[in-house]
């Protein structure tokens, strides 16, 4: 677990939103240069592979718009001693190629990293064909699969650096568009947060004794915004970010939740296998209230990513409202 700022820091300039694809591309390029076995594959989307294409174009395989074949070819390469890094649009990667991911990569436990661009609701206005709120649920039903949902561009690069070169099946949800930058943890350590930064652990980004918001992916920035507003409401809210959903850092989360009367989990995903379910399992016999904010099956309106977060109640307003409601209804 990493940690830990004082609450409500002094106002600092807000950095511009940053792209995960831009931050990950050089990490992939380094991995290709550092290990001759690493090979990359894309499905008519090359933004993740700009560095590879510039430095080692012979280590990029263009498969075209054919996700089932993309994953099958990656599995064949892995069986030939290669370490494939696969990137494609998340909705098509996880749904169209699901059987290949399960049978050809996960069952034999092959070393393949899958990068799903635009998991969750990231493609906003493009509509439900391009949304993948089910990516985490689908990946969590697979054997041997590690699952990451980084919170911003820097986190995505850190996570990716941690899993390269590939050692087993791994899925990383990446954002479709530039996302808000999550401030790095700083300041005095929380009593329950003694460990240095670890992409597989829990990052405590803000302290507060009244409630703990546990968030993943894009919702981490929403949780921090909500916590600022809640401080003005008189509710001191801690915010913890979890990027590794599988294996889930349950022990760390239990330690953080200890003593806090209210825990709210917030995740841009359908419930199965995602943050809320994992958090609930981790805190199963713990006293105190647990509230789950997550995406449901309602048909989405034509809307931007941010508007969709609001529609499903996993934005800063939804988090604030949930904390206020349950904080003021203790024990009810």
């Amino acid at each position: 677990m990493t940690a830990a700022p004082a609450s409500a820091s002094a106002a600092a300039p807000v950095p511009a939103p940053a792209s995960m694809r831009a931050s990950c591309a050089p990490v992939i390029g380094e991995a290709v240069e550092n290990d001759p076995r690493v090979v990359t594959l894309g499905a008519d989307g090359q933004a993740l592979f700009t560095s590879v294409l510039r430095r080692r174009p012979d280590r990029y395989v263009e498969v075209g718009i054919a996700e089932a074949n993309l994953v099958g070819v990656a599995a064949g390469l892995a069986r030939s001693g290669r370490l494939p890094v696969v990137g494609a649009m998340a909705p098509f990667l996880v749904r169209r190629a699901y059987e290949q991911i399960r049978l050809d990569i996960c069952l034999p436990g092959l070393p393949v990293v899958l990068l799903g661009v635009g998991g969750g609701l990231g493609y906003g206005h493009l509509g439900p064909t391009h949304h993948a709120p089910d990516d985490i649920a689908l990946m969590s039903a697979l054997p041997n699969m590690r699952i990451y949902c980084p919170s911003d561009a820097q986190d995505a690069a850190d996570v990716l650096r941690g899993v390269l070169p590939p050692a087993g099946p791994c899925y990383i949800r990446l954002a479709a568009r530039p996302d808000p930058v999550v401030p790095a943890p700083h300041g005095a350590a929380d009593t329950a947060a003694p460990v240095p930064r670890d992409p597989d652990g829990v990052r405590l980004l803000r302290t507060g004794a009244d409630a703990l918001v546990v968030a993943t992916g894009r919702c981490v920035a929403e949780a921090l915004t909500a916590a600022e507003a809640l401080a003005d409401d008189g509710v001191q809210t801690a915010v913890a970010a979890v990027s590794c959903l599988r294996p889930f850092p349950a022990t760390e989360l239990r330690a953080l939740a200890a003593g806090r009367p209210l825990v709210v989990s917030v995740c841009e995903a359908l419930e199965t296998g995602a943050l809320a379910q994992q958090t609930e399992a981790a805190l199963t016999d713990r006293p105190g209230r647990l509230v789950r904010l997550e995406v449901d099956h309602r048909y989405p309106p034509v809307a931007s990513h941010e508007e969709l977060l609001r529609f499903y109640g996993v934005d800063s307003a939804g988090i604030r409202s949930a904390v206020l409601h349950h904080h003021s209804n203790k024990g009810s």
Partner: protein
């Protein structure tokens, strides 16, 4: 047979591969093994018998043993995409000495951990993509490893095959050979009545492949056509004309024997047609 882990490369080095028999003798022994297994339990009998001559020809005369390490990354590989023919593959591997022990205990579709099995298959339409990756991997390694894939004909209904067909041609995978077990039947009937494949050769040609045809029960013809295809630039497909259930008259060309079990009389009659004598135990190396 260990099925709960990947093959340990160290484990196969000690298995001495005997001098390859001629393909016809190998196929005869494999057919006998499959018939005896089908007496013990129901299996995809027609599909296994249909491709045995093709597998025998590929193993004996097309794919090269890869000493000193049979698990080296550049070895020649065979992917059985029509995984429901598993017992046909196991029987051939047993005849070759690659598999030992009771092959009847092995799963109904090839799984990881079985010597001679390059990939777990059975969900149709996966093998060709896997083989494309293997062929590309061999090329990236600078080796000359060949990859052969045996597909069913009904299996070609699966669209992923045609994604892979585009890929292989685009990337010029000249170390890749597909053999289509063209027996004309799939589970519920004739391929041409369920989802017509013809003109099948033209379809592959239109995708940029070299196409050959051969009698799939003539090992010499299969081998010669396979070599011709492998010598040409780009991927090749051999349409092997076969008869489902080949070798036993009452099993042949009948969708009812897609999957089935032989009773005592049927086994006796089937072995008599092969000239293999009376039923006996299936356990151990026959």
């Amino acid at each position: 047979m260990p099925l709960d882990r990947l093959v340990d490369p160290a484990e196969r080095h000690d298995i001495a591969r005997p001098e390859p028999p001629d393909a016809a003798a190998l196929a005869l022994g494999a057919r006998e093994r499959v018939l005896r297994l089908a007496h013990d339990k129901p299996l995809h009998l027609g599909a296994a018998l249909s491709m045995i001559d093709v597998l025998a020809a590929l193993h004996v005369a097309v794919l090269r043993p890869a000493p000193p390490s049979p698990d080296g990354p550049d070895r020649d590989r065979l992917v059985l995409s029509k995984g429901h023919g598993a017992y046909g593959l196991y029987a051939v591997l047993a005849e070759l000495g690659v598999l030992q022990g009771d092959i009847g205990a092995l799963p109904g579709h090839p799984c990881d951990g079985i010597p001679g099995v390059e990939a777990a298959t059975g969900a149709l339409g996966h093998g060709l993509s896997l083989a494309c990756g293997m062929a590309l991997g061999a090329r990236m390694s600078g080796g000359d490893g060949r990859v052969a894939v045996v597909t069913g004909d009904g299996e070609l209904n699966e669209g992923s095959n045609w994604e892979a067909a585009q890929f292989a041609a685009h990337h010029g995978l000249d170390n890749l050979l597909v053999v289509v077990d063209r027996n004309g039947l799939q589970q519920e009937g004739r391929t041409e009545e369920i989802a017509a494949l013809e003109p099948l050769g033209d379809k592959w040609r239109a995708f940029g492949w070299h196409v050959g045809e051969a009698d799939g029960h003539d090992a010499a013809a299969v081998s010669a056509a396979a070599h011709r295809l492998l010598e040409r630039p780009g991927p090749g497909v051999l349409i092997a004309r076969t008869v489902k259930g080949r070798g036993v008259s009452f099993l042949e060309d009948d969708p009812a024997w897609h999957m089935g079990q032989l009773d005592d009389d049927q086994l006796r009659a089937a072995l008599a047609e092969l000239g293999s004598g009376a039923p006996r135990d299936t356990g151990g190396a026959a």
